[in-house]
Symmetry: C2
Subunit: 193 residues, 2 copies
DNA sequence: CACATATGATTCACGAGTAAATTACCTGCT
DNA sequence: AGCAGGTAATTTACTCGTGAATCATATGTG
């Protein structure tokens, strides 16, 4: 497992424990075990938020590992694919700032990625005629074909990863996450204080 | 938001879009908009897994930003806190390898963190008497106090972050994520092929 | 008992991302 | 017109984590 280590999307303050012991076939998920450890040590605290947040983080970490596979096959990192995907799905050109917002990364990171992707012939840049500070980026034909070629494999992976839940459960999970995400996106600024 | 950028826990292949346009007060969550863009471009593909996976990733990214705040106040990064937390909740000493597994990071990363945390007097190392390759790491009093001091603030943040969902909803979300996570942890090795 | 092999921890070289500074350009104000 | 201040993109210096070696030790095998 040390092979495809995830980034730091790991723990939220409630990391997780495979068990430490030799018997690895954890029946319940690992987060439950971690939360229980915390409860034993701090009986006074309400640890219930960990059950949600810990699992979200752990799921995100695992899913990313799994999803990296089809991308790596195509020689792309996830952030690179996110960038290309933003261009593909919006259908029109985007400026570097817009790409930064779309992919939730810093402007500097976008600059670097654009350099690489341009060298590989996947995107093209064009200067704005009115405002010469801004650039416009668009997919080349090769870039669009690459994205379109990867996407089905990506979705197949995701479907396989979620196959443990049936249709209605998935719908409910999506809905709950949707309301949570809506709240988070709205409140985030406020919480950051 | 460009301020406290998260790592790469970003998009799963379905990044997200605040709108690009000036009207930023997205009512629904941003993932819905992204999925809709994909559907418009690729009407043939089943994009439903994005609704779940995209949201998981986005929630993870946002929650991590929020939770970084109380940690930074204490001068700790999240991975550092995860390491200390693993020691605290298990209650006993752990070897570097065990810490790596608990925190889902590489051995090299653990080595570096241990060096820093040792210099700050938060953890102590002890060599094993039988097997002189292994080390045993334990919290110092200062380390334990630091963790115990931070934890309540951490949980408060988490509770606040989840306040958009009521009790039953949280329970259901936790349960669904639990089964998903259980499946993922079981199947991951298989999927990695 | 020596040697091949495996394992725990560490070190090293590198790639990737960030924040802060920098460059280049636009725009509102007087 | 000219300048103050803001914004887009990039560059710079730095941190952090990783994968691949490396060191030190343990264990099984002939």
């Amino acid at each position: 497992m040390t092979a495809t280590e995830g980034p730091s999307a790991t723990g939220t303050g409630e990391p997780s424990a495979p068990g430490g012991g030799p018997a690895g076939h954890a029946r319940g998920d690992t987060v439950a075990a971690v939360v229980q450890q915390w409860r034993a040590v701090h009986p006074g605290l309400d640890t219930s938020p960990m059950e949600v947040i810990g699992r979200i983080n752990r799921c995100a970490a695992l899913l990313q590992q799994a999803e990296d596979a089809p991308l790596r096959r195509a020689g792309l990192t996830r952030p690179e694919f996110d960038l290309l995907g933003a261009l593909r799905r919006t259908g029109h050109e985007l400026t570097p700032s817009e790409l930064a917002r779309e992919t939730f990364s810093s402007g500097a990171a976008v600059t670097k990625r654009l350099k690489q992707l341009t060298e590989r012939g996947l995107v093209e840049r064009r200067g704005d005629t009115r405002d010469r500070r801004v650039a416009h980026v668009r997919l080349t034909d090769a870039g669009r074909e690459l994205v379109d070629g990867i996407l089905p494999a990506q979705l197949a992976y995701e479907t396989a990863a979620l196959s443990g839940l049936d249709g209605p459960e998935l719908g409910e999970l999506a809905a709950l996450l949707g309301t949570l995400l809506g709240q988070l996106e709205g409140r985030l600024g406020a919480l950051r204080a």
